[in-house]
Symmetry: C2
Subunit: 331 residues, 2 copies
């Protein structure tokens, strides 16, 4: 397919261009609201068209799909425009700044008969898929709890709007908690019903939180704790799933790279768990292309993006108010 990139972003440059081209996709245009940024990006990546005019790019019928990785407040309008123009859409997380906007995007795509996917890369990791497989195979019995550790140090080149611009969707909760929400939903196959949380600005965030800790209750009764931060240089990342028959420890797996170790502990002892070392973004593109071809769903659907956003925004509201928040996912 022929693609337009909407947003001249770091993630497009570092991950998605390679993943798209690796899947034989044709990158026809890049759109940025800053014209020089579009031009520089197009030149750097060998993309024929650079434009500040999304509508003009969308008017090209040869472009069948768009990948949206602009700042978060732009996703909603850009996605609706792309869907209206008949494109298939892969959108970065968080889908929007509000759940209702995100749900509107999903509805629009459904009505238009287009694939609309959320780029939650962690679902595409071999490590996460292996953990889910262990759970599904009953290796740890009934799931009692999940711990998500995603307190990292935001690299200097990403310390822009993420740490000081609430209007662009800055803050660690829309940036990282939304991923963790998706991980919990992916691994356990259920969406939290309620959350409590605290948040803080611990030296990096200016007007937005740079750290959050929260506790989620799942419909099954399983409990989830989650820690996200931009300010932790040496904490590493990971997740643990504990059941009544075993525990899974996955270390270093909350990352864009196919790395980390998984260990399963049961009454039979400790065992290392192998997993596929494929590129996460390539897997996401592969799943997206299959969905466009009518075979299966994307790794994370639009509905997944809506539900995971609903969890993250409930976390922020819980932290803001001090009150347990229900997670409300639009039908």
């Amino acid at each position: 397919m022929r693609w337009a990139l909407v947003g001249a972003s770091t993630i497009a440059a570092q991950h998605m261009i390679g993943a798209l081209r690796g899947a034989g996709q044709d990158l026809a245009a890049v759109v940025s609201t800053t014209p020089t940024r579009a031009t520089d990006f197009a030149r750097a990546h060998g993309i024929p068209v650079a434009s500040a005019q999304l509508d003009r790019v969308l008017a090209d019928p040869a472009i069948e799909a768009v990948y949206i990785s602009s700042t978060n407040e732009k996703h909603h309008g850009q996605a609706l425009a792309a869907i209206a123009a008949g494109k298939q859409v892969l959108c970065e997380k968080p889908l929007a700044l509000t759940v209702s906007e995100a749900a509107e995007m999903v509805r629009a795509a459904r009505q238009a008969g287009r694939v609309f996917a959320t780029n939650h890369h962690l679902r595409c990791a071999g490590s996460h898929r292996a953990v889910r497989d262990l759970i599904r195979a009953g290796r740890i019995g009934r799931v009692l709890s999940l711990r998500l550790f995603h307190a990292v140090h935001l690299p200097p080149h990403l310390q822009g709007w993420r740490i000081d611009n609430p209007d662009a969707g800055g803050g660690v909760i829309p940036d990282i908690t939304v991923h963790d929400a998706d991980v919990a939903r992916f691994l356990l196959g259920e969406t939290p019903v309620s959350v409590v949380a605290q948040m803080a600005a611990s030296g990096m965030g200016q007007g937005v939180e740079d750290s959050a800790m929260s506790v989620w209750t799942m419909p099954s009764g399983a409990m989830v704790l989650s820690h996200e931060s931009f300010t932790h240089p040496f904490a590493g990342s990971g997740l643990e799933v504990h059941g009544d028959k075993g525990s899974i420890f996955a270390r270093g797996v909350m990352t864009q790279q196919p790395v980390g170790e998984i260990e399963l502990v049961t009454a039979q002892g400790r065992e290392s768990v192998p997993y596929s070392p494929h590129n996460l973004y390539a897997q996401g593109i592969s799943d997206f292309l299959s969905a466009v071809a009518g075979q299966g769903s994307p790794a994370a659907t639009g509905e997944d993006g809506v539900a995971s956003l609903a969890v993250a925004l409930a976390v922020r509201e819980a932290a803001r108010t001090g009150q347990r928040q229900p997670v409300k996912v639009p039908a």
Copy 2:
């Protein structure tokens, strides 16, 4: 000194009798409200006097100190009686079922000029002391967060009142969260100002919670997350302290044994941290005896017991109400 044991408990049998005798202490009597239990316990442990009458034992002027390890609802009355009789008191946690009762015990001891200590054993672990030393020495810089993992599997012989009797102080929050509160206070040298929490009964608790997850905010701005459970057979235990210059990972250290591994991670790499392998309860007795001799404080004072109980009860109230709770520690 000559001691009376108040409560014919598992912890007295498994840990405290050995620790007291190892420190040259004379165990003169054991008190249990169930006479046969007192008699059996005295015979099993070579204690001369078995009694169901606390007052009669306290009337013996040769008995200078008592160790209280009865069920939690009895601590308050027994401690007040012992203090009124002029004894030095080492009391199990939680000190009482309410913060005000616990504070009353501390006030009474202060007015009587007696040592009143809380048997928070984890403060006595070489591992915990080594972690605190690393923090105090600035090895991890400014503390950003603390994670406490204390989800274990309650052994069958302890699955009595702890899992079904709220009136006796059952439930994982008074049993284990109170320890974790004390660990956080010990390591960071500050007491949480507010908490949010969720709790659950996940198969063991009947009328009391068997699992809890909570998030605490410290006066410094550091954040703490804490997970306690009676139902996790393979989760292990541990704690992590993350700062802006390094992280400490201590695995297997939330236990009565002098075990576990500590790793320090900084820009210089990873290093294993050695610690003293002394018996935790022997250390607690040693510190208590020093305090009685007028040298220093017990490992955990009565005030520590009050503050750590205040945190735990705020956690339970937060979980019950869904609302962030301030931690109120009486002066």
